[in-house]
Amino acid sequence: MEDRLVIAILIGSLSGVGCYLILQNSLVRILIGLFTLSNAVNLFLFCSSDLNGIAPVGKEFQNPDQIADPLPQALVLTAIVIGFGIISLLTGVVLKLNEKLRCDDFRMLDVED
């Protein structure tokens, strides 16, 4: 129960920080916010299985109920890789934009239009 509470608080805090940063005007802060939010979501996805099971590797189990559900773990791994790829792409875009505009303000994008 305590583990679940700690993880719930962690997910809530990460989501809160992520949303706060996304609402800022600095492009770098928005990027960090997206990264934090994506980590919060990954943790949430990880918790969609029962957290009490034993890791399903390296042993033979008599009772399959003892084993933790491996599927969310595989999903989280994929989600991390995809999230990392997209954040890297966006980091490149922000860097290029910074080179071009010499500015880190999201509002400047509208001024340029």
Binding site: L27, V41, L71, G85, L90, L109, E112
Partner: protein, 416 residues
């Protein structure tokens, strides 16, 4: 099915390699163009001729662990029209070939997968390809950011929805979810998250803010194919999740979505009508069209909804490719007066859709005939107004395809 997607991916990589050669020889480029076109026809034929009762699971695992690919009969017209417009783009426009094939790969993945998480993966690939699209001809990084940030947030929402639905059903396979899930409050929250994510991708009010700010930044050549496919795919995925997983919307949620569709229809039409910039105008009109599509999704059967999507994909692409890439027309601004007329025409044909999709039995095939008439009329108006010749291949190609789609829907109607 997974082999088809792998073949498309290899084709995209091969084209990327050819495009990366510093000074590609014209002959090599031409050979790859024709290889790609023939391969697309082959892959499309395989997908369309596969029995809709058969499914394929990657790795041979059971659905809980394996990823199942299956195409229903109702989805086939949509797959056909999507492949057809990419084939047309490849043969007659031939711009950014590797990116376009990559986009088609991701779209094929979205159309064929029967797995909730795999749907998320294909969506991310689709987004990656569409993030790159605005920076092909000029370094337009602002468009990428304005488009990417809401899309990444929407993807996070989708992932939360997947987590909740998995927690409640124990499955990711859409058919298995339908067998095991119970309609609890938690399930409704999961559906709500998935719906918000998909409505954001479709540009439904109030999640539309990114559309007007980013769509007009795509160049004239890529804009038609992006306009014809990307916003609709969000609603297609929502329909797939709701219908295949047999998820019932809560009456309150359903009412809210109906209100959102009405607001999107009216605000999208008004914004488009008074917008002088042609690409921004169509970006706003896609909000209106998404509203119509959402109404169709909520009120009619999946087969009617998919048939409408197929018609609309063809129509939007051929109208815009003829308008924007054909030639002597300035991209911005265009005269307000004449743009208001086709926009009103599109609005009326979409009202026809709602009437036809609501009828029992649906006469969506007649809607296709309206579309053919509208297309011929609009191309005629365009040639009169701009004093340019509308290219024959575009209109003939579009006409043949729309007749074929009509034949599909008649077949579907006859077979119940």
């Amino acid at each position: 099915m997974s082999l088809n997607i792998t073949a498309l991916l290899i084709l995209a990589i091969a084209n990327l390699a050819v495009e990366s050669i510093p000074s590609p020889k014209q002959a090599l480029n031409k050979i790859f163009k024709w290889i790609s076109a023939i391969s697309l026809v082959g892959i499309m034929t395989i997908i369309l001729t596969e029995s809709h009762n058969e499914s394929e699971t990657v790795g041979g695992y059971e659905p809980r662990l394996g990823i199942e690919f299956r195409v229903s009969l109702a989805e086939k017209p949509l797959i056909f029209s999507t492949f057809a417009i990419f084939l047309h783009f490849l043969l007659f426009v031939d711009h950014a070939r590797s990116l376009m094939i990559f986009l088609l790969t991701a779209l094929t993945g979205v159309f064929t997968t029967n797995d909730l998480f795999n749907l998320f993966v294909w969506f991310e690939l689709l987004l990656t390809a569409s993030f790159i699209a605005p920076i092909i001809s000029k370094p337009n990084f602002k468009a990428v950011l304005k488009y990417a940030i809401p899309s990444v947030i929407a993807s996070a929402m989708f992932l939360i929805g997947i987590g909740i639905l998995y927690k409640n059903s124990g499955y990711l396979n859409l058919n298995e979810i339908s067998n095991s899930i119970q309609n609890t409050n938690q399930t409704q929250i999961g559906i709500l998250f998935v719906a918000i994510a998909m409505l954001t991708k479709a540009g439904i009010v109030p999640f539309h803010f990114w559309l007007g700010a980013s769509y007009h930044n795509f160049n004239n050549i890529i804009f038609p194919i992006i306009y014809a496919t990307l916003t609709k795919i969000g609603l297609f995925a929502l329909s797939k999740v709701l219908h295949k997983a047999d998820l019932t919307l809560d009456p309150t949620l359903s009412s809210v979505m109906i209100v959102l569709s009405i607001v999107s229809i009216s605000s999208g039409f008004i914004l488009a009508f008074f917008e002088p910039n042609i690409k921004r105008c169509f970006a706003f009109f896609s909000i209106c069209k998404s509203g119509f599509l959402l109404a169709c999704l909520l009120w009619s059967s999946p087969s009617v909804f998919y048939t409408y999507l197929a018609y609309d994909t063809l129509f939007s692409y051929f109208f815009l490719i003829s308008l924007l890439t054909d030639r002597n027309i300035p991209s911005t601004p265009i005269m307000f007066g004449w743009l208001g007329f086709p926009i009103s025409g599109f609005f009326l044909t979409n009202i026809m859709l709602i009437i036809s999709s609501h009828a029992n039995p649906s006469f969506v095939g007649i809607y296709g005939l309206f579309k053919i008439l509208a297309l011929v009329l609009l191309l005629k108006i365009k040639s009169m107004k701009e004093e340019t010749k509308v290219s024959l291949p575009d209109s003939v190609f579009a006409l043949i395809l729309i007749i074929l789609i009509s034949a599909f829907s008649v077949y579907d109607f006859v077979n119940g």
